[in-house]
Symmetry: C2
Subunit: 450 residues, 2 copies
Amino acid sequence: MDVPALLLAAGGHQLEAAETLVQAGRFVVILFAARALAELMVRLRLPAILGELVAGVLVGVSGLHLILAPELASELNAFAQGTIAALAHVGPDQVQEIYDHSFSNLQAVGKIGLFSLLFLTGLESELDELMAVGVQAITVALTGVVLPFALGTFGLHALFSVPLLPAIFAGAAMTATSIGITASVLGELKFLRTRDGQTVIGAAVLDDILGIVILAVVVALAGGEGFAIAPILKLIAAAGVFVIVALFLSRTAAPGFDWLLDRLQAPGEVVVAAFLVLSLACFAAQAFGLEAALGAFAGGLILSSSRHRHAIEEAVKPLVALFATVFFVLIGSGLDLAVLNPFDAANHEGLVMAGFLLVAAVISKVAAGWSYLSQEPTNRLAVGLGMLPRGEVGLIFLGLGTQSGVLGPSLEAAILLMVMGTTFLAPVLLRLVLADPGAAAEFAPEAPAP
Amino acid sequence: MDVPALLLAAGGHQLEAAETLVQAGRFVVILFAARALAELMVRLRLPAILGELVAGVLVGVSGLHLILAPELASELNAFAQGTIAALAHVGPDQVQEIYDHSFSNLQAVGKIGLFSLLFLTGLESELDELMAVGVQAITVALTGVVLPFALGTFGLHALFSVPLLPAIFAGAAMTATSIGITASVLGELKFLRTRDGQTVIGAAVLDDILGIVILAVVVALAGGEGFAIAPILKLIAAAGVFVIVALFLSRTAAPGFDWLLDRLQAPGEVVVAAFLVLSLACFAAQAFGLEAALGAFAGGLILSSSRHRHAIEEAVKPLVALFATVFFVLIGSGLDLAVLNPFDAANHEGLVMAGFLLVAAVISKVAAGWSYLSQEPTNRLAVGLGMLPRGEVGLIFLGLGTQSGVLGPSLEAAILLMVMGTTFLAPVLLRLVLADPGAAAEFAPEAPAP
């Protein structure tokens, strides 16, 4: 019985009340849990995003059963169900029905958060700084993408007999470095403004671009026609052209955007204009056969040289704070801890796989530090560790992989653990290596402070 | 055939691509049309919200058929449908299916915009200024609520044989004054800081509170058990208690909120904390048997004396600019101009009804100017005209009334025309009456500038 029929059957008002209670209640649960855990993580000097993921686990299918995608076919928390049923004067079955039916709205809101986050990441890309650190960053970024991708994909395929497509997905999820986490930890340790620090950031930006291009190709493959070489080359070419056009537009289109923005007079002009560019770029990427996520990033990149960049950032940040949180909590909520229970022999392979992914993710990025072409004394270990946290972009891979249905539950859990593990280890290890903030500067005393 | 089944039938990737194209495309259409028309209105010195409504009409069921609620059972724009079908390699029928299925996501986003707007309205309420203009504002507000409500309800019921419940709904939609439109026009005419101007704003704030209480009662009635007196009294009592508790909390809870906010360290703390209060207040109102809209307003009222009020406003405004626009465009998109075609005899009663509502809406608010208890020279006409624009709150009534299904299409169109008419007339007439900005001040030369 679908919801419109139910509405007729039971008198619309009670069901509408139940739906409003469900939606408001879900926001309260998500924002409260995410905020509480994020505050805890910040006090432990760990990235806030870890808290949002843990919060998702706590309220999701492995925890309180408050945030529960209908695909999981699991029973809603009985207390919450009963409370809403009593408040809205409907039956508990109807609450479950409404919950499942309206869940896609929550996912849509999370997706707005995801695209806003990617847009913001593109917007904050310092293309000029990237040019300044130039060749060094490129070698670090390329090694830092190729090594984890190869190690992850072929390791999973050869050692664990994972089919090629999910193995490629997992390998791709290991490529991108989280700029936000890296920058905040390096900043705290006074390493950000050194030449090495700038190289890490430059490489992380390149990683993002390469990672999202890989994503576009992989997702298209996941839905497509298998492993014919021609469509893969076509997609890679399309993604390359798309990024080049975006980079070109970021050098040329911003003045036109600014000209237009200066002429808008109705209120809310900054956020509306930015969101129009974002929506158009998502539409264009998808129309091009690529992933909308690439479009969102490209949209930000295009506006990164706008005079109004700061105002756009300020306007987009509240959207990210609210709705990207929804996205991360949703990801955590789907993690089934049962597949990680070490006392169940059936899980052993999955656990070993998770361990392998984590180790491969650490080793391959640290190794990238040694690909750094520098004539000067260089803290290669710190550069490698700076590339470690996968954070939000890895999660985006995970979310899209789950959605397209190519990943099984144990591979999903392994990827999530890899992302959480690297995000946890990066600040801890960097603090050890850079224990004395003064020591870092010695490696590059002539570092410019851009 | 529902969408999950379709997904299996056609290979998920194409359908996902089609859904992304549909969603991104709808955002582009809504934001572009709303912005273009809002800019036009601002240049005609008319409120931007008028542009958003007209934009909705242009892209909706009476126009391009690009934004189209599935309830209208109308065919999507053939060109758009064909373009998306071609880009995503799916059939046009599947595009229509996906469009209808994902429309509730757009409505959910619009609802977030609506609640954010009400929250912002509550947040910007100047309770202290309201206290200062005190008794005068109360008489103006009460007359300005009771007169239009009575005139609208009984006029429709007696003259047009509209059943009591929809008549009450229409009457309720005539009560609230749009603070935003009134304040911006009065400000432009240098009338805002006069004593008369402050009285208008004070009365508009009270109007909002009274209007939203009436809304809570009326919507509950619309879903409920008809016209027994006991539940009505119970609801009015509940709404009264709710507002009193909110006013009490606005005087007492803000320091606690500020204390907590000062201790949050993870980024995005302002908007997350504000949205948590908003979600909790919506949940509480609905749990209390009232309307979530009242909760959203009350949530803003509670935080209106926060030290962080300005930061909260700045964080919530982008949400309003994006998503309340979606809400207004959706309202305009549902207006069926066919029911207003004067050459169709079947429409004559509806047209006369629309004319009646507009005239009643103007006369009853202008009359409120003469209820102003002032010993001093007073521009009663300007005070009455200042109360004229119904704007967003009237539209919220309309949206909820449409949703609960008590309004027929001609009454819906009549209410929308009444809202658009008053919002259009207020600035035009006020500029005529206050043609010489200096003249206004003469009525209250001793006016304090708060």
